[in-house]
Structures are given as structure tokens and as C-alpha cells.
Amino acid sequence: MTDISSTSGTATAEAPVFAGLETRGAHAWFGKHHALADISLKFPVCTVTGLIGPSGCGKSTFIRLLNRMHEFIPGAAMAGEVLHNGRDVYDPSVDAADVRLKIGMVFQKPNPFPAMTIRENVLSGIKLAHLKRANHDDIVETCLTRAGLWKEVKDRLGASGGSLSGGQQQRLCIARSLAVEPEVLLMDEPCSALDPGSTLRIEETIKELAEKITVVIVTHNMQQASRVSDFCAFFLTDGGPGYLVEADSTRKIFTNPTDPRTADYVQGKFG
């Protein structure tokens, strides 16, 4: 099992505290069902990591573990550590809402708030989390621009968020996540419900985002993983809990993976 950071030139291996997101021996359960076993991964700052693997191997469970969305499912349990900038997010002294403020999330299905306008949707995180921010107009423009939506909606910021197309709604959700200035953005199959054009726009957005923040993206689309990610982690399940097969730079995963199962999967032989 290769550690992502070992191949990363940017990671500070010698530093006592790993800047970024890291899991150590993470497990997850739903009731008695052991969904995910012993995942140790590092996500260096300002990189894009793709989580790939067949359906049901625990990728979404893992990503929800990272910002404490996992605990909303009744009967959920976990083990191990999730460290953000060296601090365990599951420490009893840590507030879950603060964790989610720093580690944002974009969901598979676009979910803009239907009772709010486009502008209000972008600013919703600031109001929801009680953040003090001046110049709301600037935030709206910056976030929508970063999400690649500004040009399309700048003349109708007062329209309902639900009036946009599916792809636009998803980019609105990305803009909404950016407005609270997260350090990490988790994306759970953000393009699975979108057309190729919108997918392309969002992929460009992801690449631009990685200049400033860390992105972790779950995807079923191998081309997408190879296009947007710097690192890839391949998950698999043999009927039991999902486990990590291999994690490395995207180029290595797609051209010369260590494990033959990884090679089979990225070449489309199963999954």
C-alpha cells in the first residue's frame, strides 16, 4: 500500500504536523454492517485526489467520514482517526459544525435551497454559520466566478435557485460551498447527474479550485479521474468491508499500477 504523500514532492514529510487532511486506520459501520476497513490516506494541501472503485466499495462512506456527515445516518459508527492539520476531527472537544465549515461538501444530486434566490444561495453558508463578512456583493461575484457560473447568471441573481438547469444548479452548489472559504472541498460524484458540457465546466472549476484548496472527489468516471486528479486511491470490496487497494499518483495508477486489480479496473475489465 503506497502512501500518497510518499510520491508527492509538495508534502512536508519531515514536519511534525501534516498540513492537510489525513486518515489513520479509519473504519465505518452502519449498524452491524462493516462498510469500510482500515483506510490510511493523506491528502496534501492544494491537490486533487480521486477516489475510484466499483459501486458499494465505500468511497461515499469514506468521504462522508472526512467531514462528519457520516454520523447523521442512524446506527452509524466509526473507528480510527481523521486528522485535519494534525487535529483529530472526531476529538470530543471539536465541534462538528466547525469541522464542516472547514471541510465543505458538494453532493451527488444538486441541492440548492429552493426557497432562496441564486444570490441568497451563495450567501446561505455565511448566514447559516453566523460568519461576519462585509461586501456580500464581492463574495457573490467571486464565488460564482470560481464556480464558472457568473457569466450565465449575473443578470438574474434574484431568480430562484431551482430555476437553473441541473449543471448550473451543481455549480451554484459549488459556489455556495466556496463562500464559507473551506480549506478542503469534498465532492461526492458531483457530475453523475450532469450532461458532458456541464461536466467539463465543473472539471475546469475543480482544477482552478486546486490552486487554493484541497479537493477530494469520488467518481465512477475513469476519464474524469485521470483528467482532474493529481492522486488516485482505488477502493475495492470482496463482499465484506471496502478496503484500500492502492493509492498513488494518478499517472502511476493509470499507466503502471502495482496491483493487477487496479490495472484491470482502470482498463475497464470489471466494475
Binding site: 459544525a97 441541492n111 432562496m116 446561505s124 447559516l128 455556495r176
Partner: protein
């Protein structure tokens, strides 16, 4: 060999509905039905069968016979279909009859007793049997609206909060709260009146609008809480997740995301609650009683309301008193209809 597509010359096309029944067959069915109605009327006139109910039974029997006769040559499936159609249509009409007759009676008798002064005067200087040009029910209308308004102000926050407790907080008491709310909706309204009578009225030694409002609130709460719960359940889990993922705490998410999403549904909950209690009579007889003077102060002694007004004047039993009661019923009916129309309009908006 290649297939070719030859463009046909454009011909004007009219929109058609080949699946609907033709006009001639509809006219034929209608005329057969009309004949059956006339035959049934003749049977009532010249035989021992009598009355409107006799006519209805005869007409129903004739319709069955006609349905069998018309499908005799086609087949047993079509015959069954035609018979079921007659039975189901008759059942629908039969359910409609009492509704229409109640509405008809209230509208006709209520309207014939209505005068403009009915809405501008009270009964402080008028005896119940005075001509309808004197006195009115302004005090009862105001009393009803006042009590229902206070009851709504008490109930709405409680109802919505308990709905939020049941759907958002899902605390340890969820089961108990839901059970209590459900059994409260089965409490006879007079029990609610007795409860307020023994607690509030007895201790203050006075009937009042506030006591009436409290009794109505007891009856209104289960309706509002249950409707609010049902409405809040419709909010997709996605939206809550989105709120949490933005770093919001639970109460902020409930307040800023969940409630605004179903604002119109919660309005419906309030209106349904009002419609539930505005016609209540029994609890008001024990709490607010009735009076003859226009009054706005909710703690200043007995106060009239439309239901107790109707009840009281029907009991007096003289011609003009009864006419006043009928007009009161019409006013009450119009208010309830108005509220339900509002509820439908607001409720419809949620579905988009």
C-alpha cells in the same frame, strides 16, 4: 440500393381526438338517460311508488336495465363494465345529495334572513324576535374572529415547534409526543371545554374570550402539530445535509433552510387548524358563553361567537330568532369556505 425519403406535399391538418366518444353517441346516451328520468317520473305519478326517493330508486333500476340492454349484443365484459359504471356513478351522486341539500338550505334560508344591519349591529338594544331590520350579529362575528385569532397565536408556535421536534430533533420523547398529539386529536371537544372550565374559568370566576381561546387552542394544537409534522417530513434530506455541510448547526438549518422551504405548507397547517375549531360550540358554552354586546376585550366577561349565537337563537325558537340563526350559519359557512380556499391555494403552491 438506397431508400429515399420523398417529401409529401403539405396538406392542412386539423387537431383531432379520435379516442374520445363521438358527439352523436354522447347525444344518444343523454337522450336515453333523459327518457329513463321521464319514465321514472311517470311511474311515480301513476303507481304506488312515491316521493323523490321513489323516483331515485326507479331511475336507478331503469338505468341498470338500460345498461344491460345496450350491451346485450356486445359481450359479458362490456355488460359488467356498464353495470359497474351505473352503480359507481349513482354512489357518487348519492354522496353528493346530502352535501348539496345542506348547502342549499343554509344558503337559501341564511340569505333570506340577511340584512345589511346584520353585519353592522349587535343585539344590545334588540330583542331576539324583533324584525330582521333591527339588530345583528356583529358582536358574534367579532367574538369568533377574536377567539380564533388568539387561539391561533397560542397554537401556531407550539404546533410548529412540536412538528420540528418530531421531524428535526427526533429526541428521546419523539414517540411519546407523537402519541400524545395523536390521542389529543381524538379528545371530545366538550372535554377541552370542561378542562378550561375547571382550571381557568373556575379560578377567575368569569367566562371570557381568553378562556374560549384556550379551549379552542387545546383542540387546534393536534391538527396544527400533525399537519406541520407531515409538511416538514416532505423536506428532502438533501437540503438538511447541504445545510450541515456548510457548517450550520441544527437549529440554524431548521430555521433558515427547512422552515422557509415549506412556508406555504405551514400556512396550510394554520388554516386547517382554524377551520377545525371555528365551528366548535360545546367548549365555548363552558368557557366564553355568549352576550349581546360588541366587545373587544378578551378578559372582560362572557362574549358571543357565531356557534353559540346560532345555538342560542335556535333555542329561542321564534320565527325571527331562527332566521337570525340561519344567517349566522351562512356567515360561518362562508368563513370556513374562504379559509379552505386559502388553504388550497397556499397548499397548491408547494407542489409547483
Amino acid at each position: 440500393m438506397t431508400a429515399t425519403i420523398t417529401p409529401t406535399s403539405p396538406t392542412p391538418v386539423e387537431p383531432q381526438t379520435p379516442w374520445s366518444t363521438s358527439r352523436t353517441s354522447r347525444v344518444r346516451s343523454l337522450s336515453i338517460l333523459l327518457t329513463a328520468a321521464i319514465v321514472a317520473a311517470i311511474v311515480v305519478l301513476f303507481t304506488g311508488v312515491a316521493g323523490i326517493d321513489g323516483w331515485a330508486v326507479t331511475f336507478f333500476g331503469l338505468s341498470l336495465v338500460i345498461a344491460v340492454a345496450r350491451t346485450a349484443k356486445i359481450g359479458p365484459k362490456e355488460r359488467k363494465d356498464a353495470l359497474m359504471r351505473v352503480v359507481i356513478t349513482s354512489a357518487a351522486v348519492a354522496a353528493f345529495v346530502p352535501w348539496v341539500s345542506i348547502f342549499g338550505a343554509v344558503i337559501f334560508r341564511g340569505y333570506s334572513g340577511a340584512r345589511i344591519n346584520y353585519f353592522t349591529q349587535d343585539m344590545r338594544t334588540t330583542v331576539p324576535d324583533d324584525f330582521l331590520e333591527y339588530g345583528g350579529a356583529l358582536h358574534a362575528i367579532v367574538g369568533s374572529l377574536l377567539m380564533v385569532a388568539i387561539a391561533t397565536v397560542i397554537t401556531l408556535p407550539l404546533g410548529i415547534l412540536s412538528g420540528i421536534y418530531l421531524t428535526e430533533v427526533r429526541g428521546r420523547l419523539t414517540f411519546l409526543v407523537r402519541f400524545v398529539v395523536q390521542s389529543m386529536s381524538g379528545v371530545p371537544s366538550i372535554v377541552a371545554g370542561l378542562f378550561i372550565y375547571t382550571t381557568y374559568v373556575y379560578s377567575t370566576q368569569s367566562f371570557s374570550a381568553l378562556a374560549g381561546s384556550l379551549a379552542l387552542a387545546v383542540l387546534m394544537l393536534p391538527t396544527v402539530a400533525r399537519t406541520a409534522e407531515e409538511v416538514l417530513k416532505l423536506v428532502p434530506e438533501d437540503l438538511r445535509s447541504a445545510g450541515y455541510a456548510l457548517g450550520a448547526r441544527q437549529w440554524r438549518t431548521a430555521l433558515m433552510v427547512v422552515i422557509p422551504t415549506v412556508r406555504s405548507g405551514l400556512t396550510t397547517a394554520a388554516i386547517l387548524g382554524v377551520a377545525r375549531v371555528i365551528g366548535e360550540t360545546a367548549p365555548l358554552l363552558l368557557t366564553s358563553l355568549s352576550n349581546t354586546t360588541l366587545r373587544f376585550n378578551p378578559v372582560d366577561g362572557p362574549i358571543a361567537s357565531l356557534p353559540t349565537y346560532i345555538f342560542g337563537y335556535l333555542q329561542i325558537g321564534t320565527e325571527f330568532a331562527i332566521a337570525r340563526a340561519w344567517t349566522g350559519s351562512l356567515v360561518l359557512l362562508v368563513i370556513v369556505l374562504f379559509l379552505f380556499t386559502l388553504a388550497r391555494r397556499f397548499g397548491g403552491k408547494d407542489k409547483r
